[in-house]
């Protein structure tokens, strides 16, 4: 146990993976992008890995949406952002369907095998709706990229979900399915009388639900699918072990709302339960800093035009509202700091009303995070 205080600025310099968790709409993708910018500015080779980001973020970083592999942020943008070789910034906005296709090609023995799966109509229509597929592919990509050694740091922007850690649980559900023993039950049995009877019942059930023809097709598909993806199954467990290690930091990205404290509490408990290294809260859109702002003294307002003077009382009402909000945000930040204790941190990122994903804004946040 160390008494050293955790700081975000330290995490971006010495961790290999930073996982940004949080509900939708709290600025998680923006935070992930800012963290990766900050790390690249600090001299590291960085990849930011995100699922389904806003179009503008892709535009700001100058990368296309959903390429099949990570792409470098264009050199002029890297230079403009103060990133100099050998440091680098790559981004990958991954499309689960493309990653699944990639995995199929990589894990099948021959191109013909791959083609058979990829052209299967069930695969084409619903592979993206296999529960946990998004999370599974994100996890698999992360595992591969970390092991390849091309990057010093991978920042992962997790898919939005009500429960911040759902992406860790979801691959489990999928591995429960691809574990080959689960699907054996659906195959016609020749061995024991008991097994034959059991599989007869299941056949009847599937037949009644899907119709016989489609039931056969579905089971055949699930068998092929699980045969391929069970090769990835090992990785899920290996990944869980890696994510529990000292090279990794989990951050909860959140914003001021009535439920923020409850969410923070839940997240901290859950990471503890799963043995994951929780390292801090990033409170976005916080007005906490505005508590130091003051209403100007009378002398500076004396030379205002009459029209503006008449409007001042209303501006003052607005100022009071801002001050109240700022105080609320500050007390929220204080509570988060207390909750973080000594093994984690809490940091507030100011509200950025212009929309938080142009390059200048990202750099402002990156600097604030790096300095903290």
């Amino acid at each position: 146990m160390t008494n050293e205080l955790v700081r975000i600025g330290e995490l971006i310099r010495n961790r290999r993976v930073i996982v940004c968790c949080g509900a939708g709409g709290v600025g998680k993708t923006t935070t992930a992008a800012a963290l990766s910018l900050a790390a690249a500015r600090a001299g590291r080779r960085v990849l930011v890995l995100t699922i389904d980001p806003s179009k503008r973020l892709a535009e700001t970083l100058g990368v296309s949406r959903n390429p099949p592999t990570p792409v470098a942020v264009p050199p002029d943008r890297q230079i403009a952002a103060g990133i100099h070789a050998p440091a680098s910034l790559d981004a990958w906005m991954l499309d689960p369907k493309l990653v699944a296709d990639e995995s199929v090609r990589r894990l099948t023995k021959t191109p013909e095998d791959a083609e058979r799966v990829l052209s299967n109509r069930i695969y084409q229509q619903v592979s993206s709706m296999v529960a946990g597929m998004h999370e599974y592919t994100a996890m698999e990509a992360l595992h591969r990229l970390v092991n390849e050694g091309r990057y010093d740091l991978v920042v992962l922007d997790t898919p939005p979900s009500r429960h911040a850690l759902d992406f860790l649980e979801a691959p489990r559900r999928l591995s429960g399915l691809v574990d080959s023993s689960a699907l054996q039950a659906f195959l016609p049995k020749r061995d024991s009388l008991m097994a034959r009877a059991a599989s007869k019942v299941i056949e009847k059930i599937l037949g009644a639900v899907f119709g016989e023809e489609f039931a056969h097709e579905l089971v055949a598909f699930m068998m092929t699918f699980s045969g391929i993806f069970s090769a990835l199954n090992v990785d899920v467990n290996a990944m869980r072990t890696f994510l529990s290690g000292p090279d990794v930091a989990f951050l909860l990205v959140t914003s001021p709302a009535p439920a923020t404290l409850a969410e923070a509490h839940f997240f901290q408990d859950k990471t503890k339960e799963l043995g994951l290294p929780f390292r801090g809260f990033v409170l976005n859109r916080s007005r906490a800093r505005n508590t130091s702002k003051r209403w100007p003294d009378e002398t500076s307002l004396e030379d205002l035009p009459a029209e503006a003077k008449a409007a001042l009382p209303r501006l003052q009402v607005m100022a009071q509202g801002e001050l109240d909000a700022a105080k609320r945000d500050l007390s929220l930040l204080t509570e988060l700091e207390q909750r973080a204790g000594t093994s984690a941190t809490a940091i507030a990122v100011p509200e950025l009303p212009e929309g938080a994903d142009d390059m200048l804004t990202l750099l402002t946040i990156a600097d604030a995070l790096a300095a903290s």
Binding site: G25, Q125, A131, A185
Partner: protein, 307 residues
């Protein structure tokens, strides 16, 4: 009839929108208003896990709803739609033999298949919803005349509204197809079903709102309108704004950000108007707390008469 009043004549309304825009609060407020109008309203959460914490249920003083509709406030029922419950209902309805249904539900292999198989989760939720829409009172009237659903994130919403078309291409016959077509007859009929998008006047929520509207249209889901939540009131005239502009830049006092906010909000609302013909109903910022829901319901009631 205004578009908002029409909402209360539908059988099923999907409340959609980005996280953090106040979707659950508005779902609760609409339920309150529906109840005031004498509509038998059922509000639904979509849960992954029966132990999920529900922001919607919190408005009714509880951590979560149950898988069977319960009275959560006078005249308002609440329920959580769970994939598992819907799948069970479906298996029971299809496998007429009780033994077979029990065997199905106790099979570990089948349970694993249902928990991760392609689109089975969405299908479970869809079927539970259909069961609730079908439910009748002894008088023959629908038990829940309005089913109001607090939908999860955009991606999940489109998975659910796009489900029937997607699956019917794969399974055009049989009990699944029949259930999907019946569900479509509610959801995709503009007299019975509607999706409303909740947004706030900021860049990202408005962009996501436009994307969502486009996605809903592609899946054949009728749209009712946009509820623009937390629109800041502008207390200044245009002349006052221009008179204050340069002194504020010089002094930058407390309140300067608040001063800019209404202008940015107008700009975002204008951008949304340029992108959709749907009615956009603007709602003011209200303080969080016990009075939020009834306050929102009052505003909605007034808007319903005028918009």
């Amino acid at each position: 009839m205004s578009s908002l009043q029409e909402l209360f004549t539908r059988r099923v309304v999907l409340m959609t929108g980005k996280g953090g825009v106040g979707r659950s609060s508005l779902t609760a407020a609409l339920a309150t208003q529906a109840q005031r109008k004498g509509v038998r309203v059922l509000i639904c959460d979509i849960g992954d896990d029966p132990n999920d914490y529900s922001p919607l249920a919190r408005h009714f003083g509880r951590d979560r709803f149950t898988a069977a509709p319960t009275l959560v406030a006078p005249g308002i029922h609440g329920v959580v739609l769970l994939a598992r419950s819907g799948q069970e209902l479906f298996l029971k309805s299809v496998l007429r033999s009780g033994t077979l249904a029990r065997a199905a539900l106790s099979s570990d292999a089948l349970r694993r298949l249902l928990s991760a198989g392609p689109s089975f989760k969405e299908m479970g939720v869809f079927f539970q919803l259909l069961t609730l829409l079908r439910a009748k009172l002894p008088s023959g009237e629908p038990e829940h005349s309005l089913v109001l659903i607090d939908m999860p994130a955009t991606g999940h919403t489109l998975s659910l509204t796009g489900l029937p078309e997607l699956l019917l291409r794969l399974v055009p016959r049989g009990p699944i197809a029949a259930a999907l077509r019946e569900g479509q007859s509610y959801l995709n009929d503009p007299k019975l079903g509607a999706a409303w998008v909740v947004a706030i006047p900021e860049t990202l929520p408005v962009s996501e709102c436009l994307e969502l509207l486009e996605g809903l249209q592609k899946t054949g889901m009728p749209t009712g309108g946009v509820l623009m939540n937390r629109v800041p009131v502008d207390p200044f005239s245009a002349a006052e704004r221009s008179a204050l502009q340069s002194p504020l830049e010089r002094i930058n006092p407390l309140g300067a950000e608040g001063f800019r906010r209404p202008v940015l909000a107008r700009r975002e609302i204008a951008r949304l108007r340029a992108g959709t013909k749907l009615p956009i109903i603007e709602l003011p910022e209200l303080a969080h707390g016990a009075a939020l829901i009834s306050g929102l319901a009052d505003v909605l009631e007034k808007e319903g008469r005028t918009s």
